[in-house]
C-alpha cells in the first residue's frame, strides 16, 4: 500500500469535510435548516455531534459553505455560457439546460437554496447570497433583453417579470424532479424549453 503523503492526508481531510457537507445538504434540504440538528448530521456521519466542530466552526458555517460553493459553481458556469457569445436564444437555452443539469447533479444544494435563501439573505454572514443572485439576475436579464432586441423574444413582455417567471419555474422543479426517477435533466429540459418557448396554446 502506498504511503500517505502530506497531500493525500490533506485530501482525506477534505474528503471528510466534503462528505459531511453532502450529508448536511441532504438533511437540510429535506427538513429545513432549523429542523436539522447537528446531531442529525453527526449521526449520519457516524461521529458524535461535538466532533463536527473539529471540521466546522458552527452549524451556520456548514450552511454557509454549502451555499457559497453552490453559488460560486453555478455563477461560474453561467458566466462561461454568457461568455461563449451565442445568440440570445442559444444562450437562453444553454442557461436553462444548465439549470436542469445542476438540479440533477446537486439537488440538495438547489433544494436548500430554494427553501432557505430568502430568509438567509437578510442574515449577517450571508450577504454573498445577495451579490451572487444579483449577478445571476443580471445575466438572465441581459439574455432576455438581448433576445427582445434581436427579435427572438416577444417585445410585449416585461423582462423583469419574465425573469422571475423563469427563475421560479426552473428551480422549483427540484421539488419533484429527482435524479433516478422517470425524468432526466435532458428530458425535463426539452419539456420546459418547449413550454417556455411556445406556451400552452395551440398554433
Amino acid at each position: 500500500m502506498a504511503m500517505n503523503t502530506r497531500a493525500e492526508r490533506a485530501d482525506q481531510s477534505s474528503e471528510r469535510r466534503t462528505q459531511i457537507l453532502a450529508i448536511a445538504a441532504r438533511l437540510i434540504a429535506s427538513q429545513g435548516y432549523s429542523a436539522t440538528t447537528v446531531r442529525d448530521i453527526a449521526d449520519e456521519a457516524g461521529i458524535l455531534s461535538g466532533s463536527l466542530y473539529h471540521h466546522f466552526s458552527s452549524k451556520e458555517a456548514i450552511l454557509e459553505e454549502i451555499l457559497r460553493s453552490f453559488m460560486d459553481g453555478l455563477l461560474a458556469r453561467f458566466e462561461e455560457i454568457l461568455a461563449a457569445g451565442g445568440s440570445p436564444r442559444d444562450t437562453f437555452d444553454a442557461l436553462v439546460e444548465h439549470a436542469f443539469l445542476t438540479i440533477e447533479r446537486e439537488p440538495d444544494a438547489v433544494g436548500l437554496y430554494q427553501n432557505e435563501s430568502a430568509f438567509l439573505a437578510t442574515q449577517t454572514g450571508f450577504e454573498f447570497l445577495h451579490e451572487k443572485s444579483a449577478r445571476i439576475e443580471a445575466i438572465w436579464l441581459e439574455v432576455i433583453r438581448g433576445g427582445q432586441k434581436s427579435g427572438a423574444f416577444r417585445q410585449s413582455m416585461d423582462a423583469g417579470i419574465a425573469y422571475r417567471f423563469l427563475r421560479d419555474s426552473l428551480w422549483s422543479t427540484v421539488r419533484w424532479f429527482r435524479p433516478g426517477g422517470r425524468h432526466t435533466a435532458a428530458s425535463v429540459s426539452r419539456h420546459y424549453l418547449d413550454l417556455f418557448h411556445n406556451g400552452l396554446l395551440a398554433e
Copy 2:
C-alpha cells in the same frame, strides 16, 4: 359598561383566535415553522407564551388550522370555478386568476404552504394536505387535458409536466409579489397568462 354575554365573549375569543392565526401565519411564512417560536407569536399578540394554550392546544395545532382553512377555501373556490362549466381555456384562465387573487389576499398562508407543505405532508395529522392537493391536481389535469382534447392547448405537451410547471410558476410568485407593491393580482395575472399562453418566442 354592559356585561359581555356568553355569545359576545365567544365572538371575542373567535376574533382573538383569528388574530393569533394571522400573526402566526405571518411569522411562519417569513421564518419557517421550526424557526418560529410560540413566544414569537405570543409576543406579537401581546400575551405570554403560556397563554396561547388557552386558544390552541399546541403549536402544531396552530399550523394545522392555518393550512386546513387555507386549503379548504382554495379548493372550494376551485371546485366552483370548475363547476361553472366554462370552456377549458376560460376555466384555465379563471383558475390562474383566482390563484393570484389568493396570493394577494392571503400571502402568508400561501407562503407558509409553499415552504412547509412538502415536509408536512409526510407528518401524521397533516394527511389532509395530500388529499386536498390531490384533488387540486385532478382539477388542473382535467382542465389541461380538456383543453388538449378541445384543441385549445397543444397536444404535444405532457399534461403532468405542464401541471407541475403551472403550479410551481404560479405559487412561487408569492416570494416576490406582495400586495401593496408595484403589481396587483390583476396585473400579474395578465402577464403570467400571456407567458403561459404564448411563451417567450416571437411570432
Copy 3:
C-alpha cells in the same frame, strides 16, 4: 390571610430574584465565575437550570446585576460620607469603617468583585465597573490629599500609592474576615485603622 395585591406579587417575584442573586454571589465568590455553573446555582435554588432563564437572561446577566447593585450601593454610601463634610481624618476613618461594614454585610459581593473585576472590566457590558471604580478612587484621593494639605497625613507619601495600598489592604480582608467569626467589622476596623494611622514601628 391577606390577599395578594399586585405589589405583593411583584415583591415575591423580586424576592425570588434576590434569593437567586444571593445564591449566585455566594457560589461565584467561592468558586469563581467560570467554575460556577448555572446548574450549581439552579440546584441550590431548587429549580432546574433552564428555569433560571425565566428570571435572568443569561449567566452573565446575573453576574452583572450582582456587581452593579453592589457598586451602586457602595458608591452611594461613599458619596454620602464625603458629602457629610467632616475633616479629612474623620472622613478617612468613616470610609474605612464603611468598607469593613460592607465586607461584613455583603462578603460574597465583595469577594466576587475582588476575584473577577479586574478581568471583567475589560469585557463589554461591564464598562460600568471602570466608571464606578474611577469615582471611588477619586473620593479616596480627595480625602488623602485633603489630609496632606491639612497636615493630618504625612506629606512625604505618594497619594496614588497610598490609595492602592489602602484599597488592597482593606478589601483583601474579605478573604479571611468572615462574619460570625472571631472578628466583627468594628474590631477589624479598629485594628486596621491603627495600622493605617501609625504603622508597625514603636514610638
Copy 4:
C-alpha cells in the same frame, strides 16, 4: 547536521516545558484557571492542544507545577533571609523587599497564586499549598513577634492581624505593579516600607 543526543533532547524538552509553563502562567494569571483552556495554551505555544499531553499529563498538572516551583522558590528564599539572623526589623524589611522582587520577576506566578490558591488549597493534589503557606506564615509571625519583644514594633498590635495585613497588602500589589511600568521593585519597596513602618498620620 549533528544528531541530537538523548541528553540534548532532554534539554530541549525541558526548555519547551519551561516555555509552556510560562505561557500557561501568564494566561491563567490574567484569565483564571477555569477560563483558560488547554487550547489557549497550545495556541500560544504554536502546537495543537493534544500535543500538550506529550509534556504534561493534564491541565491540572501544569497548574500544580507552576505553583509548586513558585512556592518552593519563595519559601527557600524566605528561609535564607530568616537564617541570616538579622534583627527583626532588618529581617522584616528584607522579607518585604524580597516579596516585591518576586512580584517583579514572576508576576504571573504571583497573580495566579493570588487568584486561585484560596480555592485550590481545598483540592486534592494541592495540599502542599497549605503546608508551604503555613510555614511562610510562621516565618512572618516569628519576625513580627520578635520585633514586638525587642521593642522595634508596637506591642499593642495583634500579630495575627498584622500578618494578614502585611501579606494582603504586599501581594495584592501584583494587580497594579507590573515590571516595566513607572515603578520598580525597589521604588515600591521603599514606599510600602514607609507606609508599613510609619502609617499615614503626620508626626
